[in-house]
Subunit: 139 residues, 4 copies
């Protein structure tokens, strides 16, 4: 599959997310990636919550990477743009770009790789019906 187009989630940087340098602490960008991923799924009609609850399908983080370009500050409106880079039988790869809305500065970009697991935590294949949902979004 080719990468999907980018979908956007928006929210404000929280005071709790800043550190004593006066900027958002770097680990929170990975939480923001997750917010982007959830929004990507929601806009594509995939309820990750139900995949876990009803399908017993867990999307587990296997690898995470972020490159920081410019600091996010308290109360900045943040845009997380998310795309699906790859779907394979047992693997999903998402890409992210984080922007400050006000001046469209690119703050960070990153990627997460996920493996599909069942309730027991063991790797398994993404069931066909979910796989179609992820794949249909391409193009």
């Amino acid at each position: 599959m080719e990468a999907t187009r980018w979908l956007t989630a928006r929210f404000r940087a929280r005071y709790a997310e800043t550190d004593q340098m006066g900027v958002v602490y770097h680990s929170h960008y990975f939480v923001w990636f997750e917010v982007g991923r959830a929004e990507w799924c929601r806009q594509r009609g995939i309820a990750y919550r139900d995949m876990e609850r009803e399908g017993g399908i867990y999307i587990v983080v296997a690898e995470a990477h972020c490159r920081y370009k410019a600091p996010a500050r308290y109360d900045d409106e943040i845009e997380v743009r998310t795309c699906l880079r790859a779907v394979r039988k047992r693997v999903l790869v998402f890409g992210y770009e984080i922007y400050r809305t006000s001046d469209q500065t690119l703050l960070a970009e990153g990627e997460t790789t996920h493996v599909i697991a069942g309730r027991d935590g063991r790797p398994r294949s993404l069931p066909e019906r979910y796989r179609r949902l992820f794949e249909q979004v391409v193009a």
Copy 2:
């Protein structure tokens, strides 16, 4: 029962826990209370992890309170002193004091009230064998 004596957990304030005021963000004190509570249990021979896993007993937070006296700063060694204030059939109350080790400044004090719940999230009584473990620690 009377309140138990205080038991102490020690660790350093993390950079991730500071905010842009240059001090530890206030919500983290409730995480520190939990670290104190876990250590209190461990020192008393109660493995909370096993209570959940094997006993299906969950200690759910019903109320939490903290009074902040002085700021904690990055890399301060922190002492959380924890005591059990009350054990009832379905309720536990813990008290906390947080100190900076270096000068023994009292940074905060607080209290959490917990209800006992089962795997289904419903309130239940603390089983007798666990209750004895909590009560024996008095005096």
Copy 3:
């Protein structure tokens, strides 16, 4: 002054905010209170960010309290309703109610008390122009 009417902030519970009980971990409610407080200020024309940056006025948490009624779960849309309960020369008191939007269940209620401090961390009076901004919002 009398308490102001409630203003509302809305967002979704994040995966990162859940714990192994399958519900939102209790300390995050205090972060949610802060989101509500920031939104309350914004809707009233008070930019807390600028108070800090330009005015050198810091609103420091002196006391925090939360009573938990029902669990918040991943992806729930959350409403934080915030009101200002008291304004004094050096003290602000905010009240909060947290609801799940879908069924309007009250999940938690709480209160935070704040003291005004300057850049040096010392208590000071809320400057007249800011005090008017907070007080005007009453009624």
Copy 4:
């Protein structure tokens, strides 16, 4: 310079760090890397806190990467092994391995790249006396 030998920090996984999959949420590993980094500095006689406060030297995260191998669980004793992989005029690279103490399972490995900045947030060179402190640790 060649990479330094590994130094170890130890602590327990906190309840607040777990998520609804019953394992430690992935973004916390980056906080654990920071705990490892702080401990590495402390054992080498470098007080990062003082570098910031007195030297006005900030070590800013420019890139972060983690590969997850096995889940960490609540109350696991965790070991973060940290080494300095590179020191250049304006760049530091740290490597990490995270183990569960009890069975020495490798849970994750990662790397962070940092740039040196001054109080104004602008890149600057690491002052000679600090550079020597980092470099002396090699071999």
